[in-house]
């Protein structure tokens, strides 16, 4: 690069107007290309993203065919989300089966894992008061070890029907879910851990625990809202 520099000093200084014109011209060309690419790919990308989200929700609510997004308002009530969703608002997705019956609610939760923040999505069935599905949205856990929380069928089986029933008071869980040592699961509210990934599997337990403690009472109370919405 040195050589280029020395040639540069020898070249006659371009007038600033020429410089300006060149930069502006280049800027316009670049902006044009970007906008074109953006507009051209936008529909595909949005479709891809929506499909990915849909897929995840489908995974955690077995038997659903359609969904509706609900917003949590500041006074803790759920309202169907309109077209313009505030990005910072918390949302849950209600899933409905063929008959339009509420099949479950997908809730996003996050917490600290072994390596970084874990983001997961789980499905809650208000009728059976169980977690019915589970999907890891984002994880940096060690491949081949901590990432068993995404792939290990034995671990995922924990969430085919994890008991999160409420007490009589309808505000606290009877048995908050908890991760136990691999192979030690004896109760329906326990999550069998993964040997060698104790920390990650316990982190999942903790995330589910704190999220259900907060969400389950709310979802139970507002079941009516969730049921009676026409789906999109």
């Amino acid at each position: 690069m040195k050589k280029a520099d020395s040639q540069e000093t020898m070249a006659p200084a371009a007038e600033s107007s020429k410089m300006l014109r060149a930069m502006v011209g280049l800027g316009v060309i670049c902006a044009l290309m970007i906008v074109l690419a953006f507009e051209w790919t936008k529909p595909r990308i949005e479709q891809n993203k929506a499909a990915a989200l849909e897929q995840a929700i489908f995974k955690v609510i077995p038997g659903m065919v359609s969904k509706q997004t609900f917003l949590l308002t500041p006074d803790n009530t759920l309202v169907p989300a309109g077209a313009n969703v505030d990005k910072n608002a918390e949302v849950v997705y209600a899933g409905y089966d063929k008959e339009g019956k509420l099949a479950g609610i997908a809730v996003e939760a996050s917490g600290l894992g072994f390596a970084d923040v874990l983001r997961v999505l789980y499905g809650y069935n208000p009728e059976t008061e169980k977690i019915v599905g589970f999907f890891v949205l984002e994880s940096k856990e060690t491949p081949g070890l901590g990432d068993k929380i995404e792939k290990d069928p034995q671990f995922l089986a924990n969430f085919a029907g994890l008991d999160v029933a409420l007490k009589e008071d309808k505000v606290t869980l009877k048995n908050p879910p908890v991760t136990v040592k691999a192979g030690m699961k004896t109760n329906p509210w326990e999550i069998d851990g993964i040997t060698g990934a104790t920390i990650s599997s316990r982190a999942i337990g903790a995330i589910i625990n704190s999220s259900t403690t907060r969400w389950v009472p709310m979802l139970q109370q507002q079941q009516a809202t969730l049921r009676n919405t026409t789906t999109n």
Binding site: C30, A31, I34, V35, A37, F38, E90, A109, S110, G111, L112, G113, F114, A115, D116, V117, K140, I199, A203
Partner: protein
């Protein structure tokens, strides 16, 4: 939902997910400037400084781009704004504190378009950090970068006087040490969880 305390953000960026040793960001200066402790320290200082500035720029820019609904300009605007801000700050420092300029000055242009800086800006945006969180993140990343760089420089200075086999000499040795350091930093995993 907020899950990360500021303390965790700092520890995470500096030790657990060290930019150099876990994310592979800023490898070029890491390989290039880790031969001498003195330059390494200054480089670390300069990177931390630029990271703080970039972090603030990126925070403001992101808010602006969201407001005008032009997310596609993110990359271009980050790189242009960060580079020019650092240049401005550089000129400012030159005026205000020639000593500081002498210490950091030569490194600033080198690192403005370095991937650790841009990576920081992009990560903090992806993670959706607020202003304070972003600054803490930048500080953590800078401190972590400096820590890794300074450790490496110490080791390399010592190894100048070792009978390193010829085939290993040079970049290969530095990379191997980086690998061992990376393993070492894995000990911090899960800290604060």
């Amino acid at each position: 939902m907020k899950t990360e305390s500021l303390w965790y953000i700092f520890i995470n960026a500096s030790l657990i997910n060290n930019f150099v040793l876990a994310y592979f960001l800023g490898i070029c200066p890491f390989l290039g400037v880790s031969g001498k402790l003195e330059t390494a320290t200054k480089m670390g200082g300069a990177v931390t400084f630029v990271m703080l500035i970039s972090s603030m720029c990126a925070y403001g820019l992101h808010a602006f781009l969201i407001a005008v609904n032009a997310p596609f300009l993110q990359l271009i605007s980050y790189i242009v704004v960060i580079a020019s801000t650092v240049q401005l700050v550089e000129m400012f420092i030159k005026k205000m504190s020639p000593a500081l300029f002498r210490a950091l000055g030569i490194f600033l242009p080198l690192i403005t378009t370095n991937c650790a800086i841009l990576g920081l800006a992009l990560f903090q945006t992806n993670k959706g950090y607020g202003f304070i969180e972003s600054i803490v993140y930048a500080l953590g990343a800078g401190v972590g970068f400096t820590f890794a760089l300074v450790l490496m420089a110490g080791l390399r200075e010592q190894l100048e006087f070792a009978e390193v086999p010829n085939v290993v000499k040079g970049t290969a040795l530095t990379l191997l040490i980086a690998g061992i350091l990376s393993l070492t930093f894995m000990g911090f995993a899960g800290l604060g969880s």
